[in-house]
């Protein structure tokens, strides 16, 4: 009986947690995502941030050249995190989840062509 009680408690609790997550946010549907985007120079920074903003739904984007991490504040009611990855990859930059098309990548400015550099590192 105790066992059933605990399982029930767990269920209710997790449900409630979900609920509170949603209700806690209220009208604010913004979400922060942080992931790795390959790139090497200041020019890439502009490109990456512009790429993720293109199409709307993004409030803030900041790519750190040293760590290659991109921090994006976006509207979860409009976009999924995967959409952010796809936007950046469409501009030629690989992300940790989506690989850019070779032909688009080849058109990147020389300093942004990170794949060869990645190979050298290994």
């Amino acid at each position: 009986m105790k066992l059933y009680g605990i399982i029930l408690m767990l269920f209710v609790f997790s449900f409630a947690a979900c609920q509170s997550q949603k209700s806690g946010r209220g009208l604010d549907t913004s979400e922060v995502a942080e992931f790795e985007v390959s790139g090497l120079c200041g020019m890439c920074k502009e490109r990456i941030e512009a790429a993720v903003r293109k199409g709307g739904g993004v409030n803030d984007a900041n790519w750190n050249k040293e760590t290659s991490m991109l921090k994006v504040t976006y509207d979860i009611s409009l976009l999924k995190e995967m959409d952010l990855h796809k936007r950046i990859a469409a501009a030629g930059h690989d992300t940790e989840k989506v690989k850019a098309a070779d032909k688009v990548y080849e058109n990147l400015p020389g300093c942004c062509q990170h794949r060869d550099k990645d190979k050298e590192k290994h």
Partner: protein, 744 residues
């Protein structure tokens, strides 16, 4: 106890998560799109094939270009392909979602020819035959590549010379501009033979533009432009081999190899050899149904890809020796009226080209292209006792500057060129001692400009004008205009108009009309250049029915009006006369065609064409002979789901054709005033494996042969002999087989 249960619960959830991620890792997802060169836009490609290298594991993208594929433990390389596009190999990295962009075959030559991949976007009415389309009909060279296409008519094949004509908008192919990678190569002495000199397997694609062409490429195009793209050094297969044989005794061998020498340099070597040595006489008239010949053809080309520089250069050499005529004819015999009648033609051709493209670093829409083309050809021919010798030298240099002006809605091309063309020709007739010489040296500097305007979304206009300062014919302007308007999302109206100018070489353009006893006459003191205006409009509507099966409806009408034309007059059965047009000459062409994928994998393409072509001869205005007024074209193509098998069937119905008057000949050599209508069928079956393709097919499957193609065949040196009255096939059913072997 409580803690224990709690822990177990967590473990189960964790395990579930683990299983989920593990199974997710076993799949690769992605999107395939088309990359537009100018705009860099990526548009989803539906129906692209994605296959793991060296396996049969693959899938096809959906309407969003999306695919999902189970991972293969043996390989991490994907091959992505789509008809009319250069296939790509992609290495799967750490990511499980991959974007893939394909470029159309044309894009590589972006300097001059813009991408033709999305034909709906073209301002001109355009059509592209990709690799798949070219391989539907295996045989054998460019002249024969149009048999499965509705826009270009495969015309009659001369009985004696074996020369295959093509027709555009009802008019002879000489009025279309025939190009190799945007350079005019099938021109001058090569205007007929050139189509035979491009082996089919060398082709990557053939683009067909109907109506007035771009002024940038020259003043010659009147009815349209046909541009061929050959195997590219940077994209071609490592090694490609092709063997072909048919029941007519024709053997062909083609090979090409490409190498990437570094990340900047690449090269390609293309080879061809063909031979016909069997003597065929399918209608027992004592004459060969098909000429005997040997051709060797080789090309080497190079490419350099720099940061903002792209350079290409190459050279090609070919030799062909061909003869035909009486079945007993021996080319080493002395040519007299006592020996069997013979025809022979020998061609030697060498050509070189170079292209240098410089792209702006800061502005991707800005580029400078420089082109150089050098050509030399020697052509010797004989028909019985008639002889012809021709030599041609040609040089063309051109610079094309391209840029967006104001904004990306206006694109300007400005260009200057210089053309030098020397043609020396001599015709002699040993019987009548007639001599005709035509020596000409043209030297033509020119300037031209073309503006592409896209001021509002659904409307695009291309306006071009060029000025040529011709040393022989003075200065003249060539204006051309193309308009495109999207009436609705899937309905497009196009219109075009423009002027064309060309200098005719009457003998190499009419080799088929010299195999007879007609008296050769040039009635004008001086044959003037041919000048014509062409204008027309087309309406295309694309639609989707059923489960995303696509269709396209096209209606077009074009009219060509000649200001001057070299009239070819066969109206008197004893004369072959050439003279400047004195009166009206025009061609009306109407075509309605429909393409539709009836079932998954089964595509039908059907067209009806109506031509009204009239010229003023010495005895009045008449319909052009040997051209059917009505034509129906039908093509069906079926590919199995796994693409292992391909089936192709083409049917053509040709209406009645006017035959020039023969009423003054003896009754037994008279012909009716019109040919009967007839049908031709051809088909091919292809089996595709990974590296190998094997095909079997047949041409003229119903074995339809023109009755009596040669008049008075038993007395070829008599005054009634005529082998130029050809309206139908001379060669009967031919079955062929071949294989293609590819190492990527």
């Amino acid at each position: 106890m409580r803690l224990y249960i709690y822990f177990t619960g967590l473990l189960i959830i964790g395990l579930q998560l683990f299983i989920q991620t593990a199974s997710a890792q076993e799949r690769i997802e992605g999107e395939v799109s088309e990359l537009k060169r100018r705009t860099q836009e990526q548009i989803p490609l539906e129906g692209a094939t994605v296959i793991w290298l060296g396996t049969t594991q693959g899938t096809i993208t959906n309407e969003d270009g999306y695919f999902s594929l189970e991972k293969d433990p043996n390989t991490n390389t994907l091959i992505v392909s789509y008809v009319g596009f250069t296939p790509d190999t992609i290495t799967v990295g750490k990511q499980s979602y991959i974007l893939i962009a394909l470029a159309s075959d044309e894009e590589i030559d972006g300097i001059v020819v813009e991408s033709k991949s999305d034909l709906q976007e073209e301002v001109q009415q355009a059509e592209l035959i990709g690799l798949r389309g070219l391989r539907k009909a295996a045989c054998c060279n460019l002249a024969e590549s149009f048999e499965t296409n509705a826009s270009v008519d495969a015309g009659n094949v001369d009985a004696i010379t074996g020369t295959r004509q093509i027709r555009m908008l009802g008019l002879d192919g000489i009025y279309a501009q025939l190009m190799t990678e945007s350079l005019s190569t099938m021109r001058g002495l090569n205007i007929r033979t050139g189509l035979h000199f491009i082996p089919g397997t060398w082709l990557k694609s053939v683009a067909i533009n109907k109506g007035a062409g771009s002024v940038i490429n020259g003043y010659e195009s009147i009815t349209g432009q046909i541009n061929t793209e050959l195997v590219k050094p940077e994209f071609g297969e490592k090694l490609f081999l092709n063997l072909y044989a048919n029941t007519g005794g024709r053997f062909e061998f083609n090979a090409h190899a490409t190498r990437r020498l570094s990340d900047k340099w690449s090269t390609a070597l293309l080879l061809h050899a063909s031979d016909v040595s069997f003597r065929n006489d399918m209608n027992n008239d004592g004459f060969l149904s098909m000429p005997l010949y040997t051709q060797v053809n080789a090309m080497n080309r190079w490419r350099y890809d720099g940061e903002n520089v792209e350079a290409q250069f190459g050279a090609r050499v070919l030799y062909e020796d061909k003869f035909s005529g009486s079945i007993d004819f021996n080319p080493s015999d002395e040519r007299t009226a006592d020996n069997p009648y013979g025809f022979g033609m020998e061609n030697f051709r060498a050509e070189g080209f170079a292209k240098l493209g410089i792209m702006s670093k800061t502005n991707p829409s800005r580029s400078l292209g420089n082109l150089l083309s050098i050509q030399h050809q020697e052509q010797n021919a004989f028909w019985g006792l008639r002889n012809y010798e021709g030599i041609e030298n040609y040089l063309m240099i051109q610079s094309i500057f391209q840029t967006d002006i104001f904004n990306e809605k206006y694109n300007l091309r400005a260009s200057a060129s210089y053309t030098f063309n020397q043609v020396l020709q001599r015709y002699t007739d040993a019987e009548t001692d007639a001599i005709f010489t035509q020596d000409r040296t043209e030297s033509v500097p020119a300037v031209m400009t073309e503006l592409v305007m896209n001021p509002i979304e659904p409307f695009t206009a291309v306006a071009g004008i060029r000025y040529d300062q011709h040393n022989l014919f003075g200065g003249f302007f060539t204006p051309r205009l193309h308009l495109r308007y999207d009436i609705a999302e899937k309905t497009t109206l196009r219109a075009s108009g423009g002027r064309g100018f060309r200098v005719a070489n009457i003998i190499p353009e009419n080799t088929g009309y010299f195999a007879n006893s007609r008296r050769f006459m040039v009635l004008s003191e001086e044959l003037r250049p041919e000048i014509a205006w062409n204008y027309g409009a087309s309406l295309t509507h694309s639609f989707t029915l059923g489960d995303n099966r696509k269709g396209l409806l096209t209606v077009d009408f074009y009219r060509t009006d000649f200001e001057n034309q070299i009239v070819i007059d066969l109206e008197n059965p004893h004369e072959l006369a050439f003279y400047n047009l004195d009166g009206r000459s025009f061609a009306n062409s109407f075509q309605i065609s429909a393409e539709y994928e009836v079932l998954r994998g089964l595509e039908l393409n059907t067209a009806y064409k109506y031509y009204q072509i009239e010229t003023t001869y010495r005895d009045g205005q008449k319909q052009l002979p040997f051209v059917p007024q009505h034509r129906v074209f039908f093509n069906a193509e079926y590919n199995t789901k796994n693409d292992n098998w391909g089936f192709d069937l083409t049917a053509q119905w040709m209406g009645r054709q006017r035959i020039p008057d023969t009423s003054t000949k003896p009754e037994s050599f008279q012909l009716p005033t019109a040919s009967p209508s007839f049908m031709l069928f051809s088909g091919q079956i292809t089996r595709r494996w990974d590296k190998l393709e094997v095909y079997v097919g047949g041409e003229n499957l119903l074995n339809y042969i023109q009755a009596r193609p040669i008049l008075d065949a038993s007395n070829p040196f008599s005054e009634d002999f005529d082998a130029s009255m050809i309206w139908g096939p001379v060669m009967g059913r031919v079955v062929y087989a071949g294989l293609r072997f590819t190492i990527e």
